[in-house]
Point group: C2
Chain length 255, copies 2
């Protein structure tokens, strides 16, 4: 199993606080020692930091933790390998170009018989079931829409139908974004929370850290976090149901 972390916000927001909690689970408070990755969007561009080393010991993870890269959309993942060795090419998140957009994805769970799903030009580079499923999604999307449809909600409903299929092959918890919309899909373990005014204090579960969001934000800010398990102990996270999906835009749930 792995852990996912995603963010959707209406203003560029730093994810240092939540990422600090996640990092601890990478070999310290959790068993996810087989690498970690994080992708930040800035406009249409995105940048990923990845390491096959445990996040709790990674120097690059320390940089990311201490360097407040502000972004409206972030996907992060820490890995406990089951399918595919511990290597850079097997480290999430994965990114592919579709319709002139960067699509980024991370998966928690395990699939069987996914090799029977047909792929086209979008091929996996590593050996994980996760990347295979992502390539299938991107290929299916391209076969359905040669270019981005005006109504992007159609796209996410379409992706939900693919996700339902993947759930029949095992456990499929997913974060997926095109840099503007953030979609999450739950099989058995995914939680989200939307923070907006009036902001309060939050206490991390995995580290002795408290943040007072009132000091860090303006009253217009809307920030949603999605995580495998709640990251804070004193807030009410929404637990997703099996087969449920959400789409967030600028921090707000729109589907």
């Amino acid at each position: 199993m792995c852990e996912l972390l995603g963010m959707s916000a209406n203003v560029p927001t730093d994810i240092c606080f939540s990422f600090s909690g996640l990092l601890k689970r990478g070999g310290e408070t959790g068993p996810h020692k087989d690498g970690w990755g994080i992708t930040f969007y800035e406009g249409k561009g995105c940048r990923s930091f990845k390491d096959p080393q445990p996040s709790s010991r990674s120097r690059i993870a320390q940089l990311v933790k201490n360097y407040p890269i502000k972004s409206k959309v972030v996907i992060s993942h820490i890995r406990q390998a089951n399918r595919g060795g511990v290597s850079l090419e097997n480290t999430h998140p994965f990114t592919r170009q579709l319709w002139g957009q960067n699509w980024t994805y991370a998966h928690n769970g395990q699939l069987t018989d996914h090799e029977k799903l047909p792929l086209g030009r979008t091929l996996p580079i590593g050996e994980t079931d996760s990347e295979y499923a992502f390539c299938w999604i991107i290929e299916q999307l391209y076969q359905t829409y040669n270019e981005a449809p005006k109504d992007m909600l159609l796209v996410f409903k379409e992706i939900a139908s693919y996700a339902h299929k993947l759930r029949q092959l095992g456990v499929f918890n997913m974060l997926l974004t095109n840099g503007e919309y953030m979609m999450c899909y739950c099989t058995n373990n995914l939680h989200w929370i939307t923070r907006c005014a009036p902001f309060g204090q939050a206490q991390l579960i995995d580290a002795d850290m408290v943040v007072d969001f009132q000091k860090e934000t303006t009253h217009k800010d809307v920030v949603t976090l999605i995580a495998t398990r709640p990251l804070t102990s004193n807030e009410q996270w929404n637990k997703m149901h099996s087969g449920e999906f959400c789409v967030f835009h600028l921090g707000k749930r729109i589907l």
Copy 2:
């Protein structure tokens, strides 16, 4: 104009020394203040560090300079924007998946009328002529070979024919790799050097730094560097001719 830096080696090698020299040109000894990027391969995976900030002031660049990520194949670029604004999506190197491989590319120069080249599914995300040309190359390659041919030299000869076409549209100096082979193509400004035993000392042009490669290497190491302008003052760099291309594999020139 921009500056390119590439490496091909037969053992994982750190590029800190050469990268230190290049960084100085990013806003200090050179005018290339509009961002920088570097891509390291590790097996089939690769990781990129990028920043639209000047490399001489970028904290991420400092990390890369001080953190010896060892790799057999590296491509780096510092940018002086001409086509496309200063943004992450316009920052080289660019990476796309082809045949289940990560292909990475950086360009120095400027093109006109490149928009007339037909694109397919491989679309640019930013606005640069450079990324456009890269997408065209990848698309042409896929149209020519649906899967990777056994003889990869055929592929690079094919790419050279595309590069000749691009050279007719302006200045096209290029580095391109699939993580195993490193190709460079020259219009007007590209140099390379192969270092092997007996190793000597090298003095950087852009910084007061000397390295004694004999202390850093074994007698079996072969390391080739490719750069827009020579990075060291006391070594003999090979100046490429207009229309010339090279392909390196494990540090050795093979084409």
